[in-house]
Symmetry: C2
Subunit: 457 residues, 2 copies
């Protein structure tokens, strides 16, 4: 455990995901020596792009979509790095699968008709949500109406029945990998508002258009990393100990290397703080936040086909299901590579149940669902089938974004972005805009770099 090597710098960034790399880029831009320590053998964090097996192009196993209008940071980064984009496909009908497995076919972008006249209730719930957004000041991190109850309790208190709750559950599963009974109503409203509101986020039609990066979203991280000075990013460098002294910080990695700096930026999600030993210990409120912030269950499943068979039947490839295994699907084909793909998410409570099964059983369940929803046995013949279980990734613990149960924000919510000693906290969950997205990661990186810069100069 004795130091193999020792290196002094000005700022140590822990985590080479988009937020950490952006923080490093911003600091280097203003002449501050920065080292990025990354536990994994790759950069990119929750962006991960791997080559397709049976076609050109790549598969995005993590973050994927960028919006050309509302997400300026990430869109401009893609442009600056010269990355080519493809429009996300939205033509055709969508499918809603009800509790009994029965299917409702409806226009993409419109709410599917619900049983028992709950259409009206869902509409009212959406309006109620919009009202709640107006009460939130995202910039302050100290105002959390309805943090005392779960989102489920909130929906019930506004007259939502089983179909409404099931609809809301599809939202929380796809957005956060959890159930409406898992998270604080306030957290959900903050999360929605941060993304411009539920409606803007849940439809590609409303604001600008969504695109994907032909070489994969991980290209953003790789491009940022390459732009840093040689040796600035240290892979396979898992931090085990952060010791704060008056003059700065000392960081030890599991291979015994010691890095010293004046400030440190932690660029990973709150639950991962539990993997590092802190001397002195985390402030009690921060420790409480770390212990009570959760990441939901979230698996991304990509089934690639030699032809877009669902389009032939007039389907957009978009669906949502109250029963799963997949809570939702989207067409993420790259037509120019003849890579035709249905991407789906096994998430939340049903996701956790399906996780107990063997991979082959899960695959059978997903493909049977595709076959049933889009009405073709072609569903059973993917040329490639990939499952990325973010929840079991050691250095992510889940995706896209951690959430808090009731009461936590009110009690210790301000600790999310509050620096302590020489330690600064970034990551997409700390962003004002687009929490949980690549856009939020970049915003938080810029903010963290600015915080540190003001203290150092």
């Amino acid at each position: 455990m004795s130091p193999e090597r020792s290196l002094a710098t000005e700022v140590i960034v822990v985590g080479a995901g988009l937020s950490g790399l952006q923080a490093a880029r911003s600091l280097v831009d203003v002449g501050i020596g920065t080292v990025v320590l990354e536990a994994r053998s790759r950069v990119g964090g929750k962006t991960l792009s791997i080559p397709n097996k049976n076609a050109a192009g790549v598969a995005d196993l993590g973050a994927e979509w960028l919006n050309d209008a509302t997400q300026p940071r990430v869109y401009q980064l893609a442009a600056r790095l010269g990355l080519e984009c493809t429009d996300v496909k939205v033509q055709g009908d969508s499918i809603l699968q009800g509790f009994d497995g029965a299917l409702i076919r409806h226009n993409y972008g419109e709410q599917a008709p619900l049983p028992n006249g709950e259409d009206e209730v869902v509409k009212r719930i959406k309006e109620t949500f919009e009202e709640e957004y107006s009460k939130i000041r995202l910039e302050t991190f100290d105002d959390f109406p309805h943090d005392g109850i779960t989102l489920e309790e909130f929906v019930r208190s506004r007259g939502g029945g089983s179909a409404t709750l099931a609809t809301v559950a599809v939202w929380t599963r796809v957005m956060l990998g959890c159930e409406p009974s898992d998270l604080s109503a306030a957290y959900f409203f903050i999360y929605c508002k941060s993304q411009g509101g539920l409606m803007k986020m849940r439809s590609a039609k409303v604001q600008g258009k969504y695109v994907t990066i032909k070489t994969g979203a991980q290209s953003l991280s790789e491009g940022l990393a390459k732009s840093l000075p040689s040796g600035a990013v240290r892979l396979n460098s898992a931090v085990e100990l952060v010791t704060q002294k008056k003059s700065g910080v000392e960081v030890r990695t599991t291979d015994g290397s010691v890095f010293t700096g004046r400030k440190i930026i932690l660029a990973f999600s709150t639950p991962l703080y539990s993997k590092i030993a802190f001397v002195p210990p985390l402030p009690a409120a921060k420790a409480s936040l770390v212990g009570s912030t959760k990441l939901g269950y979230y698996t991304k499943v990509l089934a690639t086909y030699s032809k877009p068979w669902w389009r032939e039947k007039g389907f957009s490839g978009a669906s949502q299901s109250f029963i799963g295994p997949a809570a939702a699907t989207r067409d993420t084909s790259e037509d120019s590579h003849s890579s035709f793909r249905l991407t789906s998410f096994i998430a939340g409570g049903p996701g956790e149940q399906w996780a107990q099964l063997a991979p082959a059983e899960r695959r059978e369940g997903v493909l049977a669902q595709f076959c049933h929803m889009f009405g073709s046995n072609d569903a059973y013949q993917p040329t490639e089938y990939i499952e990325q279980q973010w929840s079991s990734e050691e250095w992510s613990l889940g995706c896209p974004c951690p959430y808090t149960p009731p009461g936590v924000l009110t009690r210790v919510g301000d600790c999310l972005i509050e620096p302590f000693g020489h330690v600064h906290c970034i990551g997409t969950e700390t962003a004002v805009d687009w929490k949980g997205y690549m856009e939020g990661a970049l915003e938080s990186g810029v903010r963290g770099a600015d915080e540190v810069f003001k203290l150092l100069r």
Copy 2:
């Protein structure tokens, strides 16, 4: 931060309370080199005895009573150390103070009559509790019926109304410094059963008799410490970092000293684990237990008088109150020293509210309550008034014993006593019998020493 000194031993015990000192004593007895590191400048943990100001003898600010029949370890330790004991006084009437402040005088040891015919409900609740104890196997740490609900929910589900709940709240306040809505019903049942059941614990009449130690309960810790080899107990040695290696552990204290050993025994309550950095980090389940285990609000108040004025009016000095500030009082006089004392506990929700006030206001509130309950202005003239706020003690965080909210035991309860790597866990909360008491501390010390001994020899 570079080591000032370095010391190698076989076993490192962290915490010189009763459990840690007993573990060290048991290890030294079988020839195993042991060092005890204590953050405070004194031994004793939650036993603390200070000299009376205006009389001979001492005041016990922490644990105090021993039972001569059901607590063999602690009673025998007192005898072995030659400590003189005094019987606890139980003669006279008791007082129950209701919601409206109105007083009900009743025989000591009997349940006070409750309004609205809730006597019967309280009686049934007690019987229901007794039934629950029979379902629990304390030795296994894996069977937790009713862990999904709070004690309040359990009581309501069995027909308990406001007076019943208020009675149960007095129990949880005095026993754990919390409200029935704070803790898991299962935890409460386990805690009660560990002490032989609610009734045995709440009455001095049932089994054996209770005594106090004339020189104070801290004499037990001091006696144990003195019996250890010179230099074995290191005061002012707060541990900041525990690093586990294949061969053993390395422990760093805040003054830069480094201790190495083959095994380490942590002899403090679960919430205090958050004060130490662990490399590698705590197992996820243990970290979750640490983050969700709580200590209630608990202040012990001792008012000493030149005469036992309450006895002159036929009172035992025992009371319980639904409104506080003191949830309960007892006569803890040492007649032979002419030190006549009412000891009370400001605990749970009301305790937390009273904690917001200035000490003088709190004192005024407590003495006014004594005056009202026992009917004499003599209450306002203590010769000495001491308040010990255990909840704000840096190295205790509360007393007597941490508890868990619903769901925690079921999820991660077995981590309470489960060793990880070279680390073993003791403390009164881990005991099978008399959790939360000095007896439980001693039991856990013996068990921890035995665990380690079996691995080393």
